[in-house]
């Protein structure tokens, strides 16, 4: 066990935890931030995507000991009132079915749009290919990403 001071969603969190613990389980089990989802545990599905600084990362493969001073943002901290352009676009397009993968999709899409605010379809597909939606909402996700991109430009 070891002590960590983590910067998560703008707050500092102190915890004593096995340093090999992936951030996914630190968030879910220790901090009760369960918006970040477990899907596969081997970075294949993207359900556990969070932001480390400005980058979308798979929290199931990120040991708590590797975080250091970097800022972590989870779906709970993406916006204060659920009004991030990507969240608004998801609601506008009524994207979700079961909804389980969508936090990961949104975290990946929001990091991607920050770097590429006006992406092509192919760029969206390339960026989002690591996020599985078992219900098959892919066409709506793509539309929502474009809606978010347009709303940001406007």
């Amino acid at each position: 066990m070891a002590n960590f001071n983590l910067k998560i969603n703008g707050k500092t969190q102190q915890l004593d935890v096995d340093p090999t613990t992936p951030m996914l389980w630190v968030l879910r089990d220790h901090l009760k931030l369960v918006g970040t989802k477990y899907g596969c545990g081997i970075s294949q599905c993207g359900a556990c995507t969070i932001h480390l600084g400005d980058n979308a990362v798979r929290s199931c493969q990120l040991p708590v000991s590797a975080v250091g001073n970097q800022e972590i943002t989870t779906i709970e901290g993406l916006s204060e009132n659920g009004d991030h352009p990507v969240q608004l676009a998801w609601m506008e397009e009524d994207v979700y079915q079961c909804g389980y993968c969508q936090a990961g999709q949104i975290m990946n899409a929001s990091a991607f749009l920050k770097k590429n605010p006006n992406p092509t379809d192919e760029e969206i597909e390339g960026a989002m290919n690591g996020n599985i939606c078992r219900c098959g909402t892919y066409t709506r996700i793509k539309k929502a990403i474009k809606t978010a991109a347009n709303s940001k430009i406007a």
Partner: protein, 732 residues
Amino acid sequence: MTLIKTQYNRRSFIKVSAAAGGGMLIGFSWLNGCKPNTPEPEAGVAMPKEWFEINGYIKIGDTGMVTIYSPNPEIGQNVRTSMPMIVAEELDVPWENVVVEQAPLNTGWYQNQFAGGSLSIRLSWNALRMAGATGRRMLLEAAAKEWGVQLSDLTASEGVIKEINGERTVTYGEIASKAVGIEVPKEVELKGVKDFKLIGSCIKNVDGKKIVTGQPLFGLDFHRDGMQLAMIQHPPAFGMTIKDFNEAEIKSMPGVKDAFIVDTTLEEPGGFDEKGFKQLIAIVGESTWQLMQAKKALKANWETTGELESSEIHVKRLEKALVSGEVQESRRDGNPEAAFKKAAKIIERTYSAPFIAHNTLEPMNFFANVTEDSAELIGPTQTPEALEGSVAKLLNLPLENVTVNMTRIGGGFGRRLYVHFGVEAAAISKKIGAPVKLIYSREDDMTQGTYRPTYRSVYKAGLDENNNLIAFTVKGAGLPEGPVFPNRFPAGAVENYSAEKIKAPTNVTTGAWRAPRSNFTAGAEQAFLDEVAEAAGKDPIDFRLELFDRAIKNPVGEKHEYEAERYAGVLKLVKEKADWGTTKPNVHRGVAAYFCHSTYVAEVFDMVLNNGQPIVEKVWCAVDCGIVVNRDAAKNMIQGGVIDGIGHSMYSQLTFENGAPKQMNFDKYQLIRHSQAPKEIEVFFVENEIDPTGLGEPGLPPAIGALANALYKATGQRHYHQPFVTEKQVVG
């Protein structure tokens, strides 16, 4: 307007009324941090101080806010929005006044509380309408009594009761307290379809904001102070059981509180107790990561008690079954053998599909709190009533001492019809004497069974010299159940017809997987008919329409399970919408239509080859599901079904070696991804006033046929064996 007898008996309403005082439902908000009663900031009404139970579905607050209980499990089919919409329509309240809560399992108040067979809306249509209509009527009666006027002097709309020839108005919120004591009407008036305001519109998912902000909605998110976590380990292969394991070592690991073998064998298992392994190693502790480490450190002795099957064995067994297997069900019209002898052309093709897993993205999990005389279960189940029964049997408790509450469910697809993970949670909670949440790893989930069976079917058709279809036969075998519906199309449309459904054994456990059997049959049959149409020199849509014409005008045999007019209807609609018959350079088209779960769907696929990779550019879907309840959400279900059908027929399979599946996680088991999905999917509905049928399943089966037929046009090769991507002929 329809007059309809209320099917509720007095007793059920007395029980419901009692709940208003007794608080049985009020305060039912168990999910930590999830407050379904809290209105969204934009909601038009204030939070009530007092609530009044009108019936099991409706609770009205003094401010006019209305809570509607959604009775069925929400697996992504959006019933938490569409079922309350139906109640709200007949109650006649503004949708912005409505908040939705998940109802607990309660067989006294609700019927058919399960999610399966695309049945939620179909089976509850009348009950939901009557719940709303009786509520409206009771509010009207309360107002009439209050003002000393006749019921016929009043009208109610949008949550307000008005005097027809007077000035007085009262809102539902203001009169609700008086409606609680009103006798339940023996008859209620339902709205005419033309008068629907909510039904047929597009209402956004009631949980949308909670989903996009990561609120704890799912079973895996459930937390109660003092609960333990548990994980399980099952034997590594079908045909194996556990002998013992390094218990002392595991118990000494950090964060591990207990480890033991748990047995969930039931003396009289029910239909939803299917499960690969009844004896499991359970490890209990404080954190998931520590439990995962403990699982890795397990050293168990397994015993081989059955055959260790392989994919080679499965294929041989299916081939043998097609020759000499046990026929489960069959149909025969005319004399197919004689017709084949006379035929000018005979086409015979074999189709197959592998075992596949459900792979709901939320792995199996359940919370259980078992005491000496009660069991409380909370989590993701498609069949709460079956779970209640199985837990009661396992713990030897009366049914009324077992409660089941449903969380939002991270995918169903049939997987959560089976209740073993809830039963296991109960067994573990009993053993440790504490509340526990059981969590499956992805690998546990993918390797423990209840798979879609593997199938193999032989289709044979005979054409006469004028290219008329004079004979059609199908023999289909499956492990353990054959993929044939003897009375479905083209039964009734061909003079000489036979269908045989054949079973063969396996110790790999199987279960219902989204559109059971149809998920294979549609693809095989629709690809086969495409090939037959081509041999006959006919357009594939015209060829099918000719067959439906025969089934309409002069049906063969005593019965068939479809309405040929509606079947032809979706084909005609998709033909029009896709502008079938036009050609675009380098765009390759395929079509298919299928009827299952009481809904008709036809689909046209446009495919292009991009660097040799087949890409579905556009899909048109025509759907006849009767009345459409929530239009955009209904489209979402069909779109998802199309993508699911493409994904599983193109990429997914479980192969076996020594009794174990070789794919254990998404690195080896392929699921469709963003870049492989169609670029656009348009959905059109046949407009009619037929009572609604389901949409969870029917969009999937025809997608496989349309995909196979478009693939043929694009590549020049027919694809017979799923997953298509592993077939050598496939490009890319």
